[in-house]
């Protein structure tokens, strides 16, 4: 019943530092730089940095994605992995489908028919909670209250809430998503990165209307075999 509680899942291994290939785009590097001006230290950049990584690495925080985030922030792999695995919206356990269907079964949704909705989706997609369809299109997840209970039963796909849903509206939604080119998982990570940045901070955006303090210099390509660990103060 409580599929949400996963115990003892083993973690994939960190890549060897010499194997680290930096993949962030120039835009991503500029975004991270702008983000770091919001905080007094690079540690605070871990959460937003992971959102950038989740977008850059196609919706999945692979060990390589975590390693690159750690490297660019000057933090240790273990520290960044520890943070990433705490939060449910970072996809660290396994690759996810192009679209993630997150079904709220929490209290109001429960009493408004979320479990029948979940059963319908499981049958239709042929997967259980946590599973991904064979074609890699959909991953089905059970989530806790999405805090739009006035629209129960509610589901979230990417950055959109849909509710109240019924079998017909779900059929239509799945059909629409199957045809869509863009992955809603990646789209969502991008939306989250964008809301962190003021219009005058966006790379290639409007000219600054606010003088910004000098951003910390981006790290050069890895030279040493050890990922740098910055002093936490």
């Amino acid at each position: 019943m409580s599929e949400l509680i996963q115990l003892g899942a083993s973690r994939p291994k960190a890549p060897k530092p010499e194997d680290l290939k930096l993949q962030f785009s120039d835009t991503a590097v500029a975004e991270l730089e702008a983000l770091l001006t919001h905080y007094p230290d690079s540690k605070s950049g871990i959460l937003p940095g992971l959102w950038i990584a989740q977008r850059e690495y196609g919706g999945y925080l692979s060990p390589e994605a975590i390693a690159e985030t750690a490297f660019r922030l000057g933090r240790s792999y273990a520290e960044v992995e520890g943070v990433a695995t705490f939060y449910s919206m970072y996809n660290t356990a396994h690759k996810v489908g192009k679209h993630m269907i997150e079904v709220c079964t929490c209290l109001t949704c429960q009493v408004c028919g979320a479990y029948p909705v979940a059963e319908y989706l499981k049958k239709k997609l042929g997967v259980d909670f946590g599973g991904t369809t064979e074609d890699g299109m959909f991953t089905l997840h059970e989530v806790e209250c999405l805090n739009a209970c006035d629209r129960a039963p509610l589901i979230q796909v990417g950055d959109q809430y849909y509710g109240p849903v019924n079998e017909k509206s779900l059929d239509e939604l799945l059909e629409k998503l199957a045809k869509q080119d863009e992955s809603t998982v990646i789209q969502m990570a991008d939306s989250i990165v964008q809301v962190h940045l003021a219009s005058f901070e966006k790379p290639g955006g409007q000219p600054a209307t606010k003088p910004k303090p000098a951003a910390p210099a981006p790290p050069a390509a890895p030279t040493s075999t050890r990922i740098r660990v910055e002093e936490t103060s």
Binding site: F86, L146, C149, V195
Partner: protein
């Protein structure tokens, strides 16, 4: 009493979500006023208003505002708790989406009163629409000189940043929230009196004010019209002033957010939200999943106010009010409540980490028809060992609903355990097939 729209007066009006529209409706008058006031005078207005924190605990807001050092030696931070994760609550979402400038102005006022250098709005990762609305409002406020360097030519600087969470209820707990901004796992920190208050050592060990979205949104009205004016609302209650947003959901005709004056009754709130659907009122969880469940008899005559709701056997909490009809199985409802806390427990302390899972296991076997004699007593025993023994409020919040439901609906548990099935045959399955 009917609805009383103060924060929500212009909610739903798209013009109010632009800076011109906001100013046209009286927005930023409070800021201009505050820039001419002594800092202490602003805090005194908050004190006179009787405003209490809307995040769940109802702590007097002015004490926090007054708690930051007056002699500034470090940077001061203003943090907004927009992590809204309490099941049943969705008011902060609507405030951010439809009245974003109230929050921007409210936080700026706090920045002025408490000598803040920067503000952080911590929005849960799922709330992208709310975050986009806040982004737009903040950008417009910067462009118009209401944020950033030298606000309105006053010489005061105040920056406002958005920081999104990534899926964790525990990050709504204020010290866990600060951990999360600082780039850590969302786990709480040691609290007063064992550690300094956040107002002395919060974010990056510097003085930090942390309030809920709704709390900040009240500030512009208080500064603009005066604390005494604000305190006239809710004057019929013992110690609750102003208006309160309630998120009403469940088996009601018109689920949604309703703004009411303290002193309104719970039944009036039910009537506003369209009354019961699908059956008679059986139970109500008035303030989010963490507060004790009430029977229909307890709801009758209950007055909405912090002390009044305690007297009625529950709490105002975050204002997430779920009404349940008589086809609802309370045991299954409490099983799902227990599952929420078991999933969201951060794992830092033993009573909560182990206790929430244990309660879930027992409730799960009851719900599956395998309950054993003594399970009810065992559950009560576990709740008493979690409550008051946990590191943060999540443990207590996990224990109360279970203990509360067993207390007021004991026969439902007895029947389920003895017969292996629910006393009510709900037409809509409330458990997985």
């Amino acid at each position: 009493m009917a609805e009383l729209k103060l924060l929500f007066e212009h909610a739903g009006n798209p013009a109010y979500q632009t800076i011109e529209g906001y100013i046209a409706k009286g927005g930023y008058q409070a800021l201009d006023k505050a820039l001419k006031m002594e800092r202490q005078a602003i805090i005194d207005q908050i004190k006179a208003s009787g405003l209490r924190g809307r995040g769940g605990a109802g702590f007097p807001t002015w004490i926090k505002w007054n708690g930051l050092p007056k002699e500034k030696t470090k940077r001061h931070h203003i943090v907004c708790n927009a992590d809204e994760g309490e099941p049943g609550t969705f008011k902060d979402k609507q405030l951010m989406e439809e009245t974003p400038f109230l929050l921007v102005e409210g936080m700026t006022l706090a920045g002025i009163a408490c000598q803040g250098d920067a503000g952080y709005i911590y929005i849960r990762g799922e709330f992208i629409d709310a975050a986009k609305a806040m982004r737009k409002a903040i950008d417009e406020a910067y462009a118009a000189g209401f944020l950033g360097k030298n606000i309105r030519g006053s010489g005061i600087d105040f920056d406002l940043y958005i920081h999104l969470g990534a899926g964790s209820y525990e990050c709504g707990e204020e010290s866990a929230l600060m951990s999360s901004i600082m780039g850590e796992r969302g786990m709480p920190r040691l609290k007063f009196p064992h550690a300094p208050l956040p107002t002395i050592a919060g974010l990056w060990d510097e003085p930090t004010l942390i309030n809920n979205v709704e709390t900040f949104c009240c500030a512009p009205f208080i500064v603009n019209k005066g604390g005494e004016w604000y305190a006239t609302m809710g004057a019929s209650t013992k110690n609750s002033r102003g208006t309160k947003l309630f998120s009403v959901s469940g088996h009601v005709g018109k689920p949604g957010n309703y703004e009411i004056e303290f002193g309104t009754t719970l039944m009036e709130l039910l009537e506003m939200s369209g009354g019961m659907t699908g059956g008679k009122l059986k139970a109500c969880v008035p303030g989010g999943s963490s507060v004790p469940i009430m029977t229909a008899e307890m709801c009758d005559g209950a007055i909405i106010g912090y002390e009044e709701m305690m007297q009625a056997g529950s709490m105002v909490g975050s204002g997430g009010c779920m009404f349940l009809n008589d086809k609802t199985c309370i045991v299954q409802f409490i099983w799902r409540t227990a599952m929420f806390y078991a999933v969201e427990s951060c794992g830092k302390c033993t009573p909560c980490r182990e206790g929430t899972k244990w309660m879930l296991q027992i409730l799960e076997r009851i719900v599956k028809g395998n309950g054993q004699p003594g399970d009810k007593e065992l559950l009560l025993d576990i709740t008493s060992q979690i409550d008051g023994r946990s590191f943060c409020g999540l443990g207590d919040a996990a224990a109360w609903p279970v203990a509360g439901a067993i207390k007021v609906f004991p026969e439902e548990f007895d029947y389920y355990i003895a017969n292996g099935k629910s006393i009510v045959g709900s037409p809509l399955p409330m458990v997985p097939a």
